[in-house]
């Protein structure tokens, strides 16, 4: 690990220098992180890759879960210079690369933004041939990961980034106030088309609701790819 970037109070990006990763990776993939205690005890969890294949370092952006076992170590204990054992890249479906085309529609809830940010960076580093829209829902402004970078995309052509804040928002907040809904998704995703590539990532309840609305709006279910974390609400 070469550097830590504090993204929010609970979330840090770990910049990793990969000594040996012959085949590279694709945006949207994840890695398995394996921690080993001195007595051989092992704990493993999966983390999405937040960087793009074109980036110098592999970036894992990790949110500290209070009842977690691996994330508190990664966020609070790991220091630059430490080594980290990874396996991957893993996953071949929730990926976007230039050849898949678009328009690209990215819907993120909370730390679900991490693999979608990788796709945005990949888009930026390649030909930018298709339009991209990102809708990113967080509880409050202080929990928005990659905030400055995401605001910066709005200055580029063919990118639109919209924020939704569900719990608290500043008086001058320009984004969507409250939970996302079907009307907002309709605006962001645009009319259903056979070309669109839709990626939805976040807590299960968020993904379930967003994907269901998109299907209801007429988007082809086979063009909607989802990645979910956490248990059902029921």
């Amino acid at each position: 690990m070469v550097e830590i970037v504090e993204e929010t109070a609970r979330t840090k990006s770990l910049l990793l220098k990969m000594p040996d990763w012959p085949s590279g990776y694709r945006s949207g993939q994840h890695v398995d992180v394996r921690l080993t205690a001195e007595d051989g005890y092992v704990a493993e969890r999966s983390y999405s890759i937040g960087s793009a294949p074109e980036d110098e370092h592999l970036v894992l952006t990790v949110e500290r879960l209070d009842d977690g076992e691996v994330s508190p170590y990664l966020v609070d204990v790991l220091q630059p210079g430490d080594e980290l054992e990874l396996r991957g890249p893993i996953g071949g479906y929730f990926v976007w690369e230039e050849a898949l085309g678009g328009p690209l529609v990215l819907i993120a809830g909370g730390s679900g933004v991490v693999p979608l940010r990788s796709m945005l960076r990949h888009w930026t580093a390649t030909s930018r041939a298709v339009p991209v829209r990102l809708l990113y829902s967080s509880r409050r402004l202080s929990e928005v990961i990659y905030r400055d970078e995401l605001l910066g995309y709005s200055k580029l052509d063919h990118v639109e980034v919209r924020f939704a804040l569900t719990r608290e928002w500043p008086d001058d907040f320009q984004g969507h106030r409250g939970r996302i809904d079907e009307a907002l998704l309709d605006e962001v995703a645009g009319p259903p088309s056979g070309e669109a590539r839709v990626y939805v990532c976040g807590p299960n309840g968020f993904v379930e609701a967003a994907a269901s609305w998109l299907v209801h709006l007429g988007h082809d279910p086979s063009r909607i790819r989802t990645e979910r974390f956490g248990p059902t609400g029921t």
Binding site: E69, V77, D82, R87, Y93, F94, E208, A211, I224, R228
Partner: protein, 201 residues
């Protein structure tokens, strides 16, 4: 041998019986959802279950007939490739033996296919002799769509991606034909006790 992670102590859970927890897994008390796409919602009057492929005569059951098939109550541990295991889950479903018993087949493999386009491949010997079910009740309630309802395959001795959600049929095949995740780098067999997570394991 893995290098030691400096300062990592781990949070041991001594209450867990190690003989029940496959390598690399941790115990989860919730019921996480992992799905590659939107949840399909097929109305029950459009639902049927089909045994087809390399069989003498395909058989299909509409939902109401499927409910007439003999069922079993199953209490089992389940293991997801994303590292969580859940102990003592309760299901009710129809043995795959009961379904395959309605056809004559020499095929050694099958593909389970689902609403929404999902598929997974299994050897017949991994789903016969009471090793697999098509389950439609979970904890005594209709199986929730997010967890695969109205009915999902239940093959608890393999990683849970083999237990296809929203399953609608089994297609018997002569050759072993990789399914959805098996084509995206996951292991063809998926035995959690051998930690067969990904290709090459």
């Amino acid at each position: 041998m893995s290098p030691v992670s400096r300062g990592f102590l781990g949070r041991r859970r001594p209450a867990v019986d190690p003989s029940r927890l496959p390598p690399g897994q941790y115990v989860e008390t919730g019921f996480p959802v992992l799905s590659a796409g939107p949840t399909p919602h097929t109305p029950l009057d459009e639902w049927s279950f089909l045994i087809s492929g390399e069989v003498d005569e395909p058989v299909s059951w509409p939902w109401k007939d499927f409910l007439e098939l003999p069922t079993e109550d199953i209490t089992t541990d389940i293991h997801c490739v994303t590292k969580w295991s859940k102990f003592d889950t309760h299901w009710k479903g129809v043995r795959v033996d009961t379904l395959l018993g309605k056809v004559h087949t020499e095929a050694a493999y099958l593909t389970a296919w689902s609403d929404g386009g999902y598929t997974t491949n299994l050897a017949v010997e991994d789903v016969n002799d009471g090793k697999a079910w098509v389950a439609y009740l979970y904890d005594g309630e209709p199986l929730h769509p997010e967890h695969g309802g109205p009915a999902r395959l239940l093959v608890p001795h393999l990683y849970f991606w083999k237990s296809a959600k929203w399953v609608r049929g089994l297609t018997l095949t002569v050759d072993d034909e990789p399914g959805f995740w098996e084509n995206y780098g996951y292991h063809n067999h998926g035995d959690p006790w051998l930690e067969q997570r990904y290709q090459g394991d």
